[in-house]
């Protein structure tokens, strides 16, 4: 079997995929590629299903890790487990269905499809929570649960909390402007570079460093 760093086998090449599974090399391939192989071989006549089921278990675990990283453990009852499990169950069904649009979505945009569905489920849970006045937690102006999920003040608080996790003051200042929609450089108006008196490259580098740092902090999501 070739090394996992090589080009992955074609989705329908079940013999090569069986070798990948047997050699424990699945983790060397992008999730979307593995989803493609599952969808091409699962319940396919004449194809040994044992290794396909192994791929399904592998992807199921990855889906669970990603979804867990997308759902807050403090915003929902039971540490958000119920929301995570609902999303996981729905995405499993989609993975195994030959016609589900989300199954195809997992193949093309694995993490973004999981994020979209996680947010759809979280959104429903938040709406349900907001309709119960006893549990509303609004730091400023009240959001109307019929028309909006979070008030402007709430959204500002979330951004502020993200910013507070950045220790380096220079990087935090650049990222704060970035979150407000200020570009790194601009000939037409204010930019992170002009406001902070740094070069456009430095501005871009600081924003990228924070993005990388946040991604690292939230682990698998």
């Amino acid at each position: 079997m070739s090394d996992a760093d090589d080009e992955p086998p074609l989705p329908g090449d079940h013999q090569s995929w069986r070798l990948v599974v047997n050699h424990g090399q699945l983790s060397g391939f992008p999730e979307g590629v593995i989803v493609g192989a599952i969808r091409a071989n699962y319940r396919r006549l004449g194809v040994d299903q044992q290794f396909v089921r192994e791929m399904i278990r592998f992807i199921s675990r990855r889906m669970l890790e990603v979804i867990r990283g997308e759902i807050s453990s403090t915003a929902f009852p039971n540490q958000g487990r119920d929301v995570v499990e609902d999303v996981h169950a729905a995405m499993l069904d989609a993975l195994l269905s030959p016609t589900a649009a989300d199954g195809e979505g997992l193949r093309k945009w694995f993490k973004s499809t999981l994020r979209t569905r996680s947010i759809d489920h979280a959104r429903k849970a938040i709406i349900a929570k907001k309709r119960n006045p006893d549990t509303v937690d609004d730091p400023g102006d009240m959001a109307d649960p019929q028309t909006e999920l979070f008030s402007h003040a709430e959204q500002e608080v979330y951004v502020q909390r993200i910013l507070e996790s950045i220790r380096d003051k220079d990087k935090r200042a650049a990222f704060m402007l970035h979150m407000q929609g200020v570009p790194c450089s601009s000939k037409k108006g204010p930019s992170i570079a002009s406001i902070l008196g740094i070069s456009p490259d430095t501005a871009a580098s600081r924003v990228a460093a924070v993005q990388k740092q946040l991604t690292k902090k939230i682990g698998n999501s």
């Binding site: 319940r43 890790e65 867990r68 499993l92 195994l96 909006e148 979070f150 709430e154 993200i162 999501s221």
Partner: protein, 204 residues
């Protein structure tokens, strides 16, 4: 309705693909790109930031219980998906297909549609395996015209739905997608009169 949902999902997935941590400028740009889904885009961005703020402060890891429950879930999902195959495998040798039943009854699809009477497109979707969630009135009427029991018809339909025909729906880009719809969706979009639609959708 279904197309709108798909378009909405594609827009949101693309939004998250491009904007990992959405800024105000990102949101406004995507709202201009997809004004129809402005509300969804704004709310998805807000929820993403809320979840991110919480996750950064209180990182969560999978516990053994969640992993075990997910393991059970995947086993159950595979069992359920493969149960259909077992039924089909068992019946493939025992029972005729929908087309076999049609042939035995000496009918064609247009003739069967005229006898019911129902629009041809409905019968065509049934035989192509593009129909799910059939209503008892329809199953009974079809079985009667084909001269078979409802149970035998249901088995043949399950087989057809398991291996649906793509029929002209293959796309020029990407993999072909089978558009399986419910009986109700097919009936409502068939072009029949309100009275006919109500008849086929009524409970027996």
């Amino acid at each position: 309705m279904e197309d709108n949902q798909q378009e909405r999902d594609e827009a949101l997935i693309a939004f998250h693909e491009e904007c990992d941590i959405p800024t105000r400028a990102d949101v406004e740009r995507w709202v201009v790109l997809h004004p129809k889904f402005a509300h969804d885009i704004r709310e998805h961005a807000a929820v993403r930031l809320a979840m991110l703020a919480d996750t950064i402060e209180a990182a969560v890891e999978l516990d053994d219980d969640m992993i075990a429950r997910a393991g059970s879930r995947v086993q159950a999902a595979m069992f359920a998906a493969e149960a259909g195959d077992r039924v089909v495998d068992a019946t493939a040798e025992a029972g005729p297909t929908l087309n076999g039943m049609l042939k035995s009854a000496g009918l064609t699809q247009p003739e069967l549609a005229r006898r019911l009477p129902i629009k041809r497109v409905v019968v065509a979707d049934l035989f192509a395996g593009r129909m799910r969630d059939l209503r008892p009135r329809f199953s009974t009427a079809i079985s009667r015209e084909l001269g078979v029991s409802v149970a035998a018809f249901n088995v043949a339909h399950a087989h057809a739905a398991r291996i649906p025909a793509l029929g002209g729906r293959a796309k020029s880009v990407g993999q072909p997608v089978v558009n399986q719809r419910t009986f109700e969706e097919i009936i409502r979009s068939s072009g029949m009169s309100e009275e006919e639609i109500a008849y086929w959708l009524a409970d027996v």
